[in-house]
C-alpha cells in the first residue's frame, strides 16, 4: 500500500519527463541515421546516451545512471570521437545507396521488427503494475547492486574482468605495427629527394596563398610562371571540399588591370 502510494506520487513528474525526453531521444536516434557527417552522428548519440542515463535514474537505477554518463558519454563517446578525428573524413560519410534496393528493404524489415517488438513488449507486464524498487533499494542502490555482484554474480564478474584484460591486450596487438623495413636515415631521405623520379618537390611544397589574391590557407599559391599550385593546399582541406577553385587564380584568367580606388 505504501509502495503504491509512492508510485502514484511520483507518476506525474515522471510522465512529464518521459514525454519530453522520450520523443527527443527517438528524434536524435533517427537523426543519427540521417545526418551526413559522422561527427554529428556522434554528438546525437551522446545526447541519446544522456537521455538514457536520466531514464535510468528516474527508474531508481542511480548507480547505472551515473555509470552511463561516466562510461558511455565520457569514455566510449570520447574514444569514438578520437577515432573519428584519427580516421578523418572520406567518401564513406556520404548517404548514397551502394546496394540497390537496400534502403526500402531495410525500412520494411525494421517496421515489421519494430511492430513485433512493440506488440510483444506491450504484453510483457501482463497487465500488472510495476512492483518498483523501493524494497530492493532499501539499503541503497549501490549497496544492493554490490551485494548481488559479489555474491550471486561473483563468477560472471570474474569472467568479465578476464574479458576486459583480453580486450585491452587485443587492442594493443591490433594497434601495434611492426616495422618491416629499417627506418630510412636522413642521408637516404635526402638522396631519394634529389635522385628520385621528380625534382618538383625537391625543395619542399609551396605554402598556401603566398602569391595569391587572398592570404588564406584555402587558396592555392601561384608558381613563378603564374599557374596555381593545388599541391600547396592541405590535402584534408581539399578532401573536405573547402579549397577554392584553383583555376580561377590562373594569371591568364585574372584581370591584372589595377583599378584606381576613389
Amino acid at each position: 500500500m505504501q509502495l503504491a502510494l509512492e508510485v502514484g506520487q511520483t507518476a506525474k513528474p515522471e510522465a512529464v519527463m518521459f514525454w519530453i525526453l522520450g520523443p527527443m531521444a527517438v528524434i536524435a536516434a533517427l537523426g543519427m541515421l540521417l545526418v551526413k557527417k559522422a561527427v554529428h552522428s556522434a554528438i546525437l548519440m551522446a545526447f541519446v546516451m544522456v537521455v538514457l542515463a536520466i531514464f535510468y535514474i528516474a527508474q531508481d537505477a542511480v548507480f547505472l545512471g551515473i555509470v552511463q554518463v561516466v562510461v558511455y558519454t565520457g569514455a566510449v563517446m570520447m574514444l569514438f570521437l578520437f577515432i573519428l578525428m584519427l580516421v578523418g573524413v572520406d567518401s564513406s560519410d556520404s548517404l548514397t545507396e551502394t546496394i540497390a534496393g537496400l534502403r526500402p528493404i531495410a525500412i520494411t524489415a525494421a517496421a515489421g521488427f519494430g511492430g513485433l517488438m512493440v506488440a510483444l513488449l506491450g504484453r510483457a507486464t501482463l497487465g500488472r503494475d510495476a512492483i518498483g524498487l523501493s524494497a530492493a533499494n532499501a539499503d541503497g542502490n549501490v549497496e544492493g547492486i554490490a551485494v548481488a555482484l559479489f555474491s550471486r554474480y561473483v563468477f560472471p564478474f570474474e569472467v568479465v574482468s578476464a574479458l576486459l584484460i583480453s580486450a585491452a591486450m587485443g587492442a594493443m596487438v591490433l594497434a601495434h605495427t611492426q616495422r618491416t623495413k629499417a627506418r630510412p636515415t636522413q642521408r637516404q631521405l635526402s638522396i631519394d629527394r634529389f635522385r628520385g623520379t621528380s625534382l618538383a618537390s625537391a625543395a619542399g611544397l609551396p605554402g598556401p596563398g603566398v602569391y595569391a589574391r587572398h592570404n588564406a590557407v584555402d587558396v592555392p599559391a601561384l608558381l613563378p610562371d603564374g599557374t596555381p599550385a593545388p599541391t600547396s593546399v592541405n590535402a584534408s582541406l581539399e578532401a573536405r571540399g573547402d579549397m577554392l577553385d584553383y583555376k580561377s587564380f590562373d594569371l591568364s584568367e585574372v584581370n591584372t588591370q589595377i583599378e584606381e580606388e576613389k
Partner: protein, 99 residues
Amino acid sequence: MDASNYLYISALLFTIGAVGVVVRRNAIVVFMCIELMLNAANLAFVTFSRINGNLDGQVMAFFTMVVAACEVVVGLAIIVTIYRSRRSASVDDASLLKR
C-alpha cells in the same frame, strides 16, 4: 505512469539502431548504431528490473556495459587497422573475400 512506456522506447531505439547498421556505410557510424542497440537493451533490462522489483536486471545491464566497453575497444582497433591498410573507413570497401 506505465513502466512499459520505457519498453516501447527501448524497442524503438533498438530498431533504429538495427536500421543504422544495415543502411550506413561509415564503419564508425555502424559501430555507434550497435552501441545504440546495446543501450536500448540496457533500458529494457533496467525497466524489467523495476517491473519485477529486484536488482538482477540492473546487474545484467552493468555486465552489458562492461561487454560493450570491451567491444568498443577491440572494434575501434580493428577499424583503425583496416583504415591503415586500405585508407578507408567504409564497410563497402572491405570486400576482400568477395573478389
